[in-house]
């Protein structure tokens, strides 16, 4: 017997605002499209190894601005991206400066939304310096920002350092910044500071579906989104529709679910005029 709280939602649609599709197989695009995905946004990230030069980043930026949109389009999916040097490679400030120097030549490309996922990894001085360089570049070009926050024991401190760095730049409007990977101990500080907050749905670290729904019930749906951040690690490309199912189990309405998994990311991302969804 179907639970009385588990109402059927035949028209589910969602936006995946954070997915590293360069490390996923084509079947993932197919599954996401079949599940109701309308668009995928791909932040620049660590490849699992340190790139040896800025030229490696140039090629990567070409991949996520040229090749991945074509791969997604085969399944009717819009594909957008964010550019940066990932915090895991930010200890090398000289390399970071070289990468930041080539980013502007990609900013006018039609699917580039802004800078991301910038931020901190181990909360080091050099990482913070490179984060501030990214923030300056975003302010200079009036770009949206997607900020990564550190993992596990480093998250709480790194989230506060990130908030402080963003607040210290007068050119940054918090409503144009999403601070990602929040958990119970950081979501409040991000929302209270006026930023958007992203919940990343991972099977082991970060946030489970049930905990994400807990945070929605506690903090409401304003300035909050969720993402799978699927990459080459233990992650789930369909984590958003799975969490939508969790919301249905908990009695959330179809409209509340649509707000969280479609309207909210659309509202934030539409602050970039290039974020246009294909007509259904």
């Amino acid at each position: 017997m179907v639970s009385p709280t588990l109402s059927h939602n035949p028209y589910m649609r969602f936006i995946e605002p954070h997915a590293h599709m360069v490390s996923r197989v084509t079947d993932d695009y197919r599954d996401m499209a079949a599940a109701g995905c309308a668009a995928i946004c791909e932040p620049a990230f660590w490849a699992g190894f340190d790139r040896s030069s800025a030229q490696g980043f140039h090629d990567y930026f070409a991949q996520i601005t040229e090749y991945e949109p074509r791969r997604a389009a085969k399944f009717g999916l819009a594909h957008f991206c964010w550019l940066c040097i990932n915090p895991k490679e930010s200890e090398n400030v000289e390399l970071a400066q070289e990468v930041l120097a080539i980013i502007p030549q990609f900013l006018d490309r039609p699917t580039v939304l802004g800078l991301g996922e910038i931020g901190l990894n181990k909360n080091s001085r050099n990482e913070l310096k490179v984060l501030e360089m990214h923030i300056d570049l975003a302010a200079k070009h009036n770009l949206l920002i997607l900020a990564h926050t550190p993992h596990l024991e480093d998250k709480r401190k790194g989230t506060q350092l990130t908030i402080d760095a963003l607040k210290n730049n007068p050119g940054i409007n918090p409503t144009r910044v999403i601070i990602d990977h929040v958990e119970e101990h950081t979501v409040g500080m991000v929302l209270d500071a006026g930023f958007w907050a992203g919940m990343t749905l991972y099977p082991g670290t970060k946030c489970t579906s049930s905990r994400a729904v807990d945070m929605i019930e506690k903090y409401g749906s304003e300035r909050l989104w969720m993402n799978s951040a699927c990459d080459w690690g233990d992650s789930v490309p369909l984590a958003i529709p799975y969490t939508a199912l969790e919301m249905r189990k908990r009695g959330h309405s179809a409209a509340q679910i649509d707000r969280m998994i479609y309207q909210n990311p659309k509202d934030f991302l539409s602050q970039c005029p290039k974020f246009n969804l294909p007509q259904p």
Binding site: S124, H151, R156
Partner: protein, 92 residues
């Protein structure tokens, strides 16, 4: 949702995870050698679960977190281990 509905939806899953934690602690105790700060942090976090007030997930996450506020001089690794190394000698 009511407490009864929450229990219906999540009790077995939570019970399963609790038994897994118990078995993990048994496994550590059976093993040779000495543990490190991660186990100490884990036991402190477990102690946070005895309360009935709301906010336990936050408390557990804070136990595992670096409480300092200044950037570290240099990143010597890329990975996190899940617990702050200073947990056995926390800051005042």
């Amino acid at each position: 949702m009511t407490k009864q509905e929450i229990l219906d939806l999540y009790f077995l899953d939570a019970r399963h995870k609790l038994v897994e934690i118990a078995a993990f602690l048994d496994r550590v105790e059976r093993a040779k050698g000495s543990a490190d700060f991660r186990l100490e942090a884990f036991r402190i976090a477990l102690g946070e679960l005895t309360g009935t007030e709301v906010g336990l997930a936050n408390k557990v996450l804070v136990v595992f977190s670096d409480p300092t506020s200044e950037p570290i001089p240099v990143a010597t690794t890329k990975s996190a281990c899940g617990a702050w190394h200073g947990v056995t000698n926390p800051l005042p």
